[in-house]
């Protein structure tokens, strides 16, 4: 139970006495009464005027306003619930699909949460406000009158509120004693009542499971969109570098090449030729570095030829001897190819840099609706996904891979005992692109 603390306090009355709950409950109920008393005339006026002026058109707007009053009141009530502890109640509303009042209205008027909140407002300002006032008013007044009896009455007078005649001084003190018991009972009753009010508010103002599912689905969607956007951005940067900086450097290489060619035929040009040789070496280095950078961002062979060709190229570049055995008769969706590609690159990199392996192998196939790629090496092992509970930095590379696979509902399976060998499998459910 989310408001468990107040309920557990109620279960142990001896602890409850000294707890914060009686006071918090009183504060919760009193603030609710104040809000209700303020809101009741406004709502009544709104409904009345709305109904009367509805034929003029103005009333429709007023009634619409009344219908939506639950939205801000729901927010206020949810923040008021924090007074009574327990988990924060999340906003059950969907975000508006577009900016502007119309879009907002369209979403709000269609969702159940809006109408649950309105129901809560009407419950609060009509029957429950009455109950609040009666309970809080009578119990608090009764407690105060009994506890303050020595100040309020002398023997022979009538005790106000209870309307009983106090005849002796002993009876005055008896009233105080009764007052102590009455106050305790009243406080207990009010705490229980407040806890019940909180439970009702939580029920009406929080999101339903279906609404939570929907917001989860939205999160999953937005994560997938982000991943796709990231992928597209990588391709764009690769294209820009290829069409821009790379072409300019190649133009420069051609110019330097021509200059060397011409200088070679000039008499006495040895110092110039040396300088041009240096320029040639520099431009070759620049081109090589740019090529490596561009390839790390997005290898064009991946989009042109697919995963097996791209991974074969990675294997060729690896400092380790790597065998590739990848049987994929069809292309896969490009985000899946990219995810698998970058994951394997990282795993091979780990194998080359950290594992002390002498060789590695990549194998894989498409079967049962999923791509499965395995990367193994004969190194020292010890690769592991860190325990999600600890914030260990070791293995963050694998966590990154797991995160990127998760976008496609994929997963990573690691077998890497100390001493090796390491075997890591990546699985991504997807569809083949049969053309």
């Amino acid at each position: 139970m989310s408001s468990g603390s107040v309920w557990s306090a109620l279960a142990r009355p001896h602890r409850w006495v000294a707890s914060k709950w009686p006071w918090r409950s009183l504060a919760y109920l009193l603030s609710g009464v104040l809000i209700g008393v303020g809101l009741l005339p406004l709502l009544a006026a709104g409904v009345l005027l709305g109904v009367l002026t509805a034929p003029l058109g103005v009333g429709v707007g007023l009634l619409l306003g009344v219908a939506l009053v639950g939205v801000p009141m729901g927010a206020l009530e949810r923040s008021r619930l924090r007074l009574m502890g327990g988990d924060r109640v999340p906003d059950p509303h969907l975000p508006a699909a577009a900016a502007g009042v119309r879009a907002w209205l369209r979403v709000r008027l269609r969702e159940q949460a809006t109408w649950r909140e309105l129901g809560h407002v009407f419950l609060n300002v009509v029957p429950l406000l009455l109950l609040d006032v009666l309970l809080v008013g009578n119990l608090v007044t009764g407690s105060v009158v009994l506890l303050l009896a020595p100040l309020l009455v002398s023997p022979g007078e009538r005790l106000p509120f209870f309307e009983v005649t106090i005849s002796t001084t002993g009876q005055v003190w008896l009233a105080v004693a009764v007052g102590v018991v009455f106050t305790l009972a009243a406080g207990y009753l009010l705490t229980g009542y407040a806890a019940a009010r909180v439970a009702l508010a939580r029920l009406l103002l929080g999101p339903r499971d279906r609404e939570l599912d929907r917001s989860l689905a939205r999160l999953v969607d937005s994560r997938a969109r982000l991943a796709r956007a990231f992928d597209a951005e990588r391709r764009r940067i690769e294209r820009d570098l290829h069409d821009g900086a790379q072409q300019h450097l190649l133009g420069l290489a051609a110019t330097i090449g021509l200059a060397r060619h011409q200088a070679a035929h000039l008499p006495g040009s040895a110092p110039l030729s040396q300088r041009l040789d240096l320029a040639a070496a520099q431009v070759t280095d620049s081109l090589r570095m740019l090529r490596e950078t561009v390839r790390d961002i997005f290898p064009s062979v991946l989009s042109d030829r697919g995963l097996p060709a791209a991974l074969a190229a990675v294997a060729d570049r690896s400092p380790l001897p790597v065998t590739v055995d990848l049987d994929l008769p069809h292309r896969l969706p490009s985000p899946v190819e990219a995810t698998a590609y970058f994951a394997v690159c990282e795993l091979l990199n780990n194998a080359a840099e950290h594992s002390g392996a002498c060789r590695a192998q990549i194998s894989g196939a498409f079967a049962d609706g999923q791509l499965r790629v395995e990367v193994g090496d004969d190194g020292v092992g010890g690769a592991a996904l860190p325990d999600p509970a600890s914030d260990a930095v070791r293995g963050t590379g694998l966590v990154g891979i797991a995160d990127r696979l998760a976008v496609h509902d994929g997963r990573i399976l690691v077998s890497s005992p100390a001493g090796g060998p390491t075997h890591i499998a990546l699985e991504i459910p997807c569809q083949e692109m049969r053309s």
Partner: protein, 229 residues
């Protein structure tokens, strides 16, 4: 390789203006006549028209309209023409897969070079001339890749470091004399190394530079571990 020193008619396909003008100028310096197109469609159009009178096509791999590998596909179409048109493919990247497709079943008149090589104008022009003459040219970077892929190969591991160097140069299409110059050793020494390499790899010795390149490429590509398609 026929030592034909006359001017060649070159069809250049390259979409980037800077690179295109640089390549054009380099080819003109050597006295070649250059026509250029700037996308894959235009290149294919010229090929469809028969590419009559063209001595060699020099093409970029990645060009519009799809900016993927139209240059490579055009090159393979040129190889299938009867008679095939010599083609030198220039690429911003060395892709073993592209090279394997281009060189599959080739019997010369084909080349695959990194664009960076234009900085060595004389070598570049020699490569153009060699391909136009029916030879085969592959980028040294590609050779290193293929050799690394075969790092575990028992026959290759029996080569001495010097024999490795010789193998690389042979595969690059260099003549015995060019290899001798490059390694600063005598011609007889080069011939001895080459014989030794070919015996160790079990390849048919002898033949011209082109035949030797093809033999080495076939050796490196066979059971090379990479996908064939």
């Amino acid at each position: 390789m026929s030592p034909d020193d006359g001017p060649l008619r070159v069809l250049l396909a390259e979409d980037a203006a800077l690179t295109r003008s640089g390549l054009t100028e380099i080819l003109r310096v050597a006295g070649h006549r250059v026509e250029s197109v700037d996308d894959g469609a235009a290149l294919m159009g010229t090929i469809a028209a028969g590419a009559a009178g063209i001595d060699i096509v020099v093409t970029d791999v990645r060009m519009p309209p799809t900016s993927t590998d139209e240059g490579l596909r055009a090159a393979m179409a040129l190889r299938r023409l009867r008679p095939p048109v010599p083609v030198l493919v220039l690429s911003a990247y060395v892709e073993t897969q592209h090279a394997a497709e281009l060189l599959a079943d080739a019997d010369g008149g084909v080349g695959y070079l990194l664009k960076d090589r234009v900085v060595h104008v004389a070598d570049f022009l020699a490569a153009v001339r060699r391909v136009a003459g029916g030879g085969t040219v592959v980028d040294p970077e590609l050779m290193s890749r293929l050799l690394r892929r075969r790092a575990g190969d028992r026959q290759l591991s029996r080569l001495s470091p010097r024999e490795h160097e010789v193998l690389r140069l042979v595969a690059g299409g260099k003549s015995n004399a060019a290899i001798a110059r490059e390694l600063v050793i005598g011609l007889p020494a080069v011939e001895k190394h080459i014989r030794s390499v070919f015996v160790k790899l079990g390849l048919p010795a002898g033949g011209d530079a082109n035949r030797r390149v093809l033999a080495v490429l076939a050796y490196l590509n066979a059971s090379g571990g990479g996908p064939s398609r």
